[in-house]
Symmetry: C2
Subunit: 281 residues, 2 copies
């Protein structure tokens, strides 16, 4: 598999790159960003995966996430995929809504038409892109972790719960934790996976935990001024599920913070330090 370089910029002593490749999983070109911190020749570095939220591409976190300083200090590679397939032939939301289709892949492999061909973001972020990144960047594949925001927080937590031996750490900013129970999730999972809710459980953090999935622990930040907190995010559902399943959860309700990158960037350093602790050695 080959990748094209869209851009590279030196930053904090490392290289922030943006790359494009023809994805087998989605049947489209996909763009992603990778920050490689300064490192010794020949070194293999741990990698943190960042899954973005609704409407985002790789660019939002790459420009606004303020992760490079911490990644440079901690020696972490940081990878940010897109949130859906894109292109003139990719079907989107019939009403061009922001919460389904383009920019809203929800990190599932769709089974429903007309989405099943392209909307295979689960396969993309858990299989195709990790292989591509490992082939093209100085990655130590034994040391990976995952984080995300909102829809990407949902992605990060579900990816971790279903691959607990691959990811040593998982954290989230303002995640959707129970998509089966909230409007964004119900719309997306119905559209991509069909109306049978049994088929949604593998893509619902709370349901995965209820069904026995385990993980070493999660760090989750939510802002108490987040407009989506009560209707879409419901972190109390994650707290209850983790408590019942004895999964360690550090849930921080940050006073005055909203759903934006002004919130994410504030706590990005904390998250990366938390990941780095777990990615050592």
């Amino acid at each position: 598999m080959t990748i094209q370089t869209v851009s590279t910029n030196k930053s904090y002593g490392g290289v922030q790159g943006v790359y494009r490749h023809a994805s087998q999983a989605t049947g489209t070109d996909m763009v992603f960003s990778v920050y490689v911190p300064p490192h010794a020749d020949g070194a293999k570095l741990p990698v943190v995966w960042y899954l973005s939220g609704l409407t985002c591409t790789h660019a939002n976190v790459t420009e606004k996430g303020e992760f490079r300083k911490a990644c440079a200090e901690l020696g972490l590679i940081f990878v940010a995929p897109d949130t859906s397939p894109r292109g003139p032939d990719v079907p989107g939301d019939p009403n061009n809504a922001y919460d389904f289709g383009l920019g809203a892949g929800f990190y599932v492999d769709a089974t429903q038409e007309p989405f099943a061909r392209n909307y295979r973001m689960w396969s993309y972020v858990t299989a195709e892109l990790p292989k591509l990144v490992a082939e093209n960047f100085p990655v130590d594949a034994r040391r990976q972790s995952v984080m995300g925001h909102s829809m990407g927080g949902h992605g990060a937590l579900t990816v971790a719960l279903r691959n607990p031996h691959r990811y040593r750490a998982a954290s989230a900013f303002a995640p959707i934790v129970a998509p089966s129970q909230v409007p964004w999730g119900i719309k997306a999972l119905t559209g991509y996976l069909g109306p049978n809710k049994d088929n949604w459980r593998g893509h619902d953090t709370v349901a995965l935990i209820e069904d026995g999935a385990k993980f070493s622990g999660f760090l989750v930040d939510v802002g108490d001024a987040d407009n989506f907190l009560k209707e879409q995010l419901k972190p109390e559902l994650l707290q209850a599920a983790c408590t019942k399943a004895s999964i360690p959860l550090t849930l921080r309700r940050q006073a005055g913070y909203d759903h934006s990158y002004y919130f994410i960037s504030t706590f990005m350093g904390d998250h990366l330090n938390w990941h780095a602790e777990r990615l050592k050695g």
Copy 2:
């Protein structure tokens, strides 16, 4: 004078705001951003002015500048104005070029038609906006400093040299230092100030220093992979002028860095620390 709040977001314990007001100087509405760090009730804080480069608005540095962490730690207010008047009645470059007119005010008060009415960015950033900010934010007006990027580096250095008692520190990322001698500057100063180069000297850092202007010292970073370094920036001209005039200059040529915010954000913390040292007490 009143200001409208466009948005506020909590970030690093403080508030990142964006505001709009009807400017007397430019005859247009103007938008600017202000970050106010966490502080004790009633405290008055030093303020750092950031002047942006060609094509930018307040938004570029606000989103990509990575200044909030350092400003929160150091207790600095950070203000980012726009780079030109804007609006349907504001004349721009006749060919819609990026380097003149909209987004390219060059921090001068234009004397040439049709620009003289609106393009009054010198008055805007040195008089009207400082008064407005002092009236609406917890500013200690005795403790101000100024920095900028590219065209805004030109702005920062000229503003400082002509107001050495108001600004305690001045620094720049990849500044235009001798606009009278480079294509961007010659085009802009001709367009705004007319062909008589004698009228340009008050808006040319090197010329101001040659004419006797003094300042306590400058910190300047340039990337040696900056595409504009040799034709437009020419930091060696600033170095020669400062040496001759005994103005302390810390000029750092940063290996591998370009003209982008990936460069700026890398060294933003250094600059803010340098400013904070000079804004103490």
